[in-house]
Structures are given as C-alpha cells and as structure tokens.
C-alpha cells in the first residue's frame, strides 16, 4: 500500500518544529517512530499534507532522574527504555509496559512520546502514565507548559495538545522507598492491541498501609481510564487480599469496554477485575523488594 503524497520536513530543533506546526496547522502531523502513523497513512485513515519528522532533533532521547522526577524524552524508543539500567532497576511498571508493546522490531522505532500523543486508548503507556501520575511537557509558540496526564486524553485519538504544540518530555515523580508497580496485559498474540490491560503503582507504608496508589486501564474506554474509585478504596487502607479484591471489582465497574473480536463487554469487564488483582499483587510484592 502506498501512502498519499506529502511534503517532508526535517526540523533540527523543537522551535523549528513548532514553527512548522504553526505554519501548516491541522495539515501537518509529527512523525516520530511512525509505527502508528505510517500504517494509518497506508490505509488512508490519515492523509497529512505535511510530515514533520522530529527524529533529527537532539536532546529528546534522555532517560534521567533530576529534581525529584524521572524525565523521559519524547523520542526515547521502546527498545531503549527496555535496555535502560535505570528503568530496569527502579521502574518495573515502565519495563513491564514497554516489553508488551507491539513486537521487538517495532520497539526499535516506536517512541514513548508517540505512544502517548497518538491518543489511542488501546496504547499501553497511557494507562501506565495514569498510574504513575506523570506530567507531560509540551512546547508551543508561547513556550513550554506542563499538562498532568489526567487531563491529557480528552477523547478518542484526541489529546490536550493544540495543533501547534509538540510533546517533548514525560516527567514521572520518583517513587519513594516502599513502592512497586506492575502492568498486566492480555493480548491474543504478540503485536495485537490489548484485550484489556491494567497498570498499578503502589507505595506501601508501615503495617501494609497503602500510602499511594495509581491504577490505569488500557483499551476499555474511549480514552485511557484512571480507576479512581478503585484507588480511593485502597488509599490509606491496609492492603490485603480483601481490599485488593474490592478495588478490582470497582476497577471493573469503572471500565467502559465495547464488544469486538477480542471479546464481549462482560468478558472484558471481568478481565479488568482479574488483571487488577494480578497487577496489584505483583506491585505489592515489588514494593517489598521482590521482583
């Protein structure tokens, strides 16, 4: 399949890219890893007149901790997240997530920024970022602003990014000691979107009291879902089999899946319940220092 014609632009800086976005408006799309955009162009579901390839912009591929945040550049490829010593040692939820995105060849190109900015509720990083309470740094003609991830996904394939803004960095608060996270995804085969996925991040204090909890759900709504009622049911309470079970039931209620080839609404809701139990249990084990 041959994609429609477009003009190809290669900005060397974020400001250049923003200038191009301002000039071409909704006619332009940012090309990052291209692992979603190029297939969509082949299917004529996207026909941008201008492609702005940001892969030559330097400084958007760092993974580092500073000032209380893990900062991940928007151009960091999934394969580099997987290889990062920092991610492998301290961010099990991010590592779980990147390892189940598409397949290893796609992960050599796919970027974390693209996974988020695409606004697809079936993508995996959105749920993870909701669980980690990330904020997204975006740059536009007026300069930089930060968008909490809870306000980023506004509708199906729609984000809080304006047409002249570009996502440059993801900032994740460094989890305190006693934290752990996990991502569970059921997929029919490698490379498929999730039938459902659940991201859980916990901070556990004395006597197993839940000090902090984040739960994000993949592909069970028009946007990625933050399971706030499930979080509420755990926050400040003792984490045990009972409270996890109750939270999982609430997460299932908060999900809003639609039936498709991957399963019925009822099946997917129940899957959310099951995966939430597993994700919380694994997160709890990891918060105690177990892999």
């Amino acid at each position: 399949m041959i994609p429609p014609s477009f003009d190809y632009h290669v900005p060397k800086s974020v400001n250049d890219a923003v200038g191009m976005l301002k000039k071409y408006g909704s006619e332009a799309k940012i090309l990052s890893g291209g692992m979603s955009l190029i297939p969509l162009m082949k299917l004529r579901l996207a026909e941008p007149a201008h492609l702005i390839d940001i892969n030559q912009i330097s400084g958007l591929d760092q993974i580092e901790e500073a000032d209380g945040f893990l900062m991940v550049g928007a151009l960091v490829r999934e394969a580099n997240l997987e290889k990062s010593v920092l991610i492998r040692s301290k961010y099990p939820l991010l590592l779980d997530t990147t390892l189940v995105i598409a397949d290893p060849l796609v992960r050599n190109r796919a970027t974390i920024g693209g996974n988020l900015a695409h606004g697809d509720p079936a993508n995996d990083h959105p749920a993870t970022m909701l669980a980690l309470e990330a904020e997204l740094v975006v740059v536009g003609p007026q300069g930089e602003r930060k968008i909490p991830v809870t306000g980023f996904f506004t509708d199906l394939f729609t984000t809080a990014l304006s047409s002249d803004e570009i996502l440059t960095e993801i900032r994740i608060p460094i989890p305190p000691p006693g934290s752990g996270g996990a991502y569970f995804k059921l997929e029919r085969k490698v490379g498929d979107f999730a039938t459902a996925g659940v991201a859980a991040q916990l901070t556990v204090g004395k006597d197993d009291v839940c000090e902090r909890v984040g739960i994000g759900l993949t592909n069970v709504g028009v946007t990625p879902v933050k399971a706030e009622k499930a979080e509420e049911a755990l926050r400040g309470k003792k984490i045990d089999g009972e409270s996890i079970k109750r939270a999982a039931q609430l997460a299932a209620q908060e999900s809003a899946p639609t039936a498709d080839l991957r399963g019925s609404e009822e099946y997917k809701r129940d899957l959310v319940r099951v995966l939430t139990v597993r994700a919380l249990n694994r997160a709890l084990e990891r918060s105690r220092g177990r892999k």
Binding site: P3, S5, I38, K42, A102, P104, L105, V190
Partner: protein, 159 residues
C-alpha cells in the same frame, strides 16, 4: 510532490536515489536499488518479512519512508554473505531446515543476526522472544529456533 535526493549506504556500497517522500524504504530497496531479497509480506507492520538493519538495528522496512533513512547505513539479506561464504545464520537455516517456502526467511535471518550480535548465547526463550515480530506460516518455529542455535554455536566457535 518534489522528489528528494537521498544517500544510503546499502550493504557497504554508497547508493543515491531521487525519491518521492512517500516511497517506503522496502520499495526503495526492491524497486530502486534492485535488491529483491527483502520481501514484502503483510505490508501492515506485522509479519517482519521486510526486516532490514537500519544503522545496525532490525526494523520493518515497510513502515519507514526511504527519506527517513537518508544518511544511514542499511544491511539487507544480500549483505550477509561475505566473499562467497554464507553467514553462519544462513548456514544454520540451511543445515537445520529453517525454511520451507522461504518467504519469511530474509526477515527471520536479519532479526537473528541482530540478536546474536547482542546476545551471543541466547536461551531458547530469548530466541523466541526476539523473533516474535517475525511470522512464519509453514516451517513452524521449531527448526527456525534450531537454526539460530546452530548459528550461535558456530559464531561462538569462530570468535
């Protein structure tokens, strides 16, 4: 749309082409450079038959524009053989019957070569994980795994 000049090093040789930005890398490799060892299978980023190395990393060349590869180095399956001698991965696929129809084979081999550069002694699980983006619809994966294990051993002996 205006054509753009691109320069790509393909299997060690400097190549130039004038291409439309929408030309996919796999079409450039096959139709412009005339290297038809790289296959187009699903054309939807699933099957991995079009796998080539872009600056040493295996990628699906049906999901990259040729203009994106401007200034890069590409290795295709034609670049594996050196001085008339098969690459150990090619030899492995031959010895262990790692193919029947051969359609997935170029992609399988490119992924395997990249894996063995990173992990010279992979476990079976690591091999299966590494080739999970390459689909075979006839041989089945058993012999492909054996082929890669053969190549791994041979490469370690040579090292």
């Amino acid at each position: 749309m205006a054509k753009q000049k691109i320069r790509i090093k393909v299997n060690g040789a400097d190549m130039e082409a004038e291409v439309e930005p929408r030309l996919l890398l796999v079409h450039c490799i096959r139709d412009v450079f005339g290297l038809t060892g790289t296959h187009i299978g699903c054309d939807t980023t699933h099957c991995g038959a079009c796998t080539v190395h872009l600056d040493g990393k295996p990628i699906k060349s049906c999901t990259l524009f040729a203009v994106q590869a401007d200034g890069s180095e590409i290795t295709t399956v034609e670049g594996l053989e050196q001085d008339g001698k098969l690459h150990p991965v090619q030899e492995g696929f031959w010895q262990e019957h790692g193919l029947q129809c051969g359609f997935c084979t170029p992609g399988m081999m490119m992924t395997s070569v990249a894996l063995l550069k990173e992990k010279p002694n992979p476990s079976e699980d690591e091999i299966r994980f590494a080739i999970s983006g390459n689909l075979c619809r006839c041989t089945g994966y058993m012999n492909i795994v054996k082929s890669i294990q053969y190549a791994a051993q041979k490469l370690r002996q040579e090292a």
